[in-house]
Point group: C2
Chain length 314, copies 2
């Protein structure tokens, strides 16, 4: 047995006994790409299932506050809850954003809740492959429900929909919020909508806009019609109905045999992420090939073939 295997063995033992510090350590090892983390993942992957809810939306929509309220709803029903908050990795911007996570500290004393922030390395705004790996660890640890909250808009929304069973898009009545959803093309990937800060003016209008847009949308698998929930996360108004909506979507997936397709899509996303990461690393280290592409001596395809040659990268 190698040192790494025996370290993994010991950590695995504590992990399976439900030691939260072992979970935290495992997450750190996986996030940093440590071999012991890889070994752990190999043993734990695909062993358990949680209801995975992706929560996304534009900055300032109140995603963290809403997540905080949804945790309370899940706890009322006796569920054990894991939370992954994916943040931009920039040291320049990172600090300030984390501020509004402090609200979630109230769950700190609750052993049924585990909250973890992840910096999305490499792919700014996107869900790193490390996030999916962290999700696998949280599932193996035995959480019943896992919320994955992503900051930002654009690619990360598409990513979250590939990873989660249920995707919740959080909007507000603020002018342009709906427009932004349409422009970013996230309308198609949301399973449910929350119009948060519904106490602000314009809430009814955005609900009507969403309804009109959804009427034109292509049909969903199993005939699912994405519902829209008005919420005020700050007071908790509408959050219970939203939680029941999340549950209804999960039951819809089960009833129509769609859960398996979601899990396959997540695996596909993981494999793609690995290839993308390899491509990035190998391209970084290939100054000469890249220079020849820049001079027009080599096509990007020829350079890519050379980089992926297993003889060059044993």
């Amino acid at each position: 047995m190698t040192v790494q295997e025996s370290q993994a063995e010991e950590l695995l033992h504590r992990f399976r006994q439900g030691d939260v510090r072992a979970l935290a350590r495992a997450l750190t090892l996986v996030e940093s790409g440590h071999p012991v983390g890889q070994e752990l993942l190999k043993r734990l992957r695909g062993q358990a299932r949680a209801k995975v809810v992706g929560i996304t939306g534009s900055p300032g929509a109140g995603k963290s506050t809403l997540t905080d309220r949804l945790i309370l709803e899940a706890r009322k029903r006796g569920e054990r809850v894991g939370v992954l908050a994916v943040d931009p990795s920039s040291p320049f911007t990172g600090g300030a954003i984390l501020g509004d996570r402090i609200r979630m500290m109230r769950h700190h004393q609750d052993p049924g809740v585990y909250i973890r922030s992840l910096a999305s390395r490499g792919a700014l705004g996107g869900l790193a492959g490390a996030t999916v790996a962290a999700l696998a660890l949280l599932e193996a640890f035995g959480f019943d429900r896992i919320f994955v909250e992503t900051v930002g808009v654009g690619q990360s929304e598409v990513d979250i929909a590939r990873v989660a069973d249920t995707t919740l898009l959080v909007l507000t009545p603020a002018a342009g919020d709906a427009v932004q959803a349409f422009k970013a093309g996230v309308m198609e990937i949301a399973d449910l909508f929350a119009v948060n800060k519904f106490d602000l003016p314009g809430g009814e209008r955005i609900i009507q806009e969403l309804k009109s847009a959804l009427e034109l949308a292509p049909p969903r698998p199993g005939g699912w019609h994405p519902p829209i929930y008005p919420t005020v996360a700050a007071t908790g108004e509408g959050v219970e109905a939203l939680f029941e909506g999340l549950e209804a979507h999960y039951q819809h997936l089960v009833a129509h045999g769609l859960l398996e397709a979601h899990r396959l899509e997540r695996a596909r996303f993981e494999v793609e992420s690995v290839i993308q990461e390899w491509g990035r690393k190998r391209t970084q280290g290939a100054g000469d090939l890249v220079a020849r592409v820049a001079r027009g001596e080599l096509s990007p395809e020829e350079a890519a073939l050379a980089l992926l040659d297993p003889k060059a990268h044993p």
Copy 2:
């Protein structure tokens, strides 16, 4: 000579004579991934240079109107101008967005301006590899300046900065616009800022916020300090100063020998894009491998290795 080579030869001849229809045809062939397009690219890549300006920012910031004004400034100076507008590919949302491009139609009669919309296939919100290929064609056609306008926020901003010589971030005085820039981590990649719609309340405040944030930012190559320009694209106010700012940044790159590094970064981006696209396609076609990953029988890394095996993909 194969049929493709002779078709490419004929198109190339017209392309080099400056036939705009040949350019349009070449762009279509490249965008659709047609072999004749690949052949053309091979002959034309890396042959010429334009000043490439990336224009990005949140939806509704007025990027198209500002681009329209910048085209006029470039034309005043006798430059030939190409424009690439990268749009989300969703057929559900695509139609409406293109509306505000109609404004640019005024350049339709000007042979010194060529405007092309590109759907970003595959990577929603991101700059497709096809965009960089289109850029290479526009450069080869002999434009002096090329504006690349991206819709949306997030990953596409980072992509544009890797492709362009100069990256312009367009903000507005709207509440949350600056916050969004900080959260998305795009502060670091913008070379210049425009606070557009400066006639709206709050313009001075956002300039102060940007200045404070930039003071904390890490130093830029060659000691560049990103300037901030107030503009009203609708009336043209401030656009001449902004254009001079773009030119000053380009001269800064030349003076500090940084232009070459930008071109290398673009080539690197192209190679990475190719590998990412291959990964996506091969993973789509590998249902069995993906199912084994989902069941925990295979790690994503093992599946990726199998997919990239050249023996399996000659």
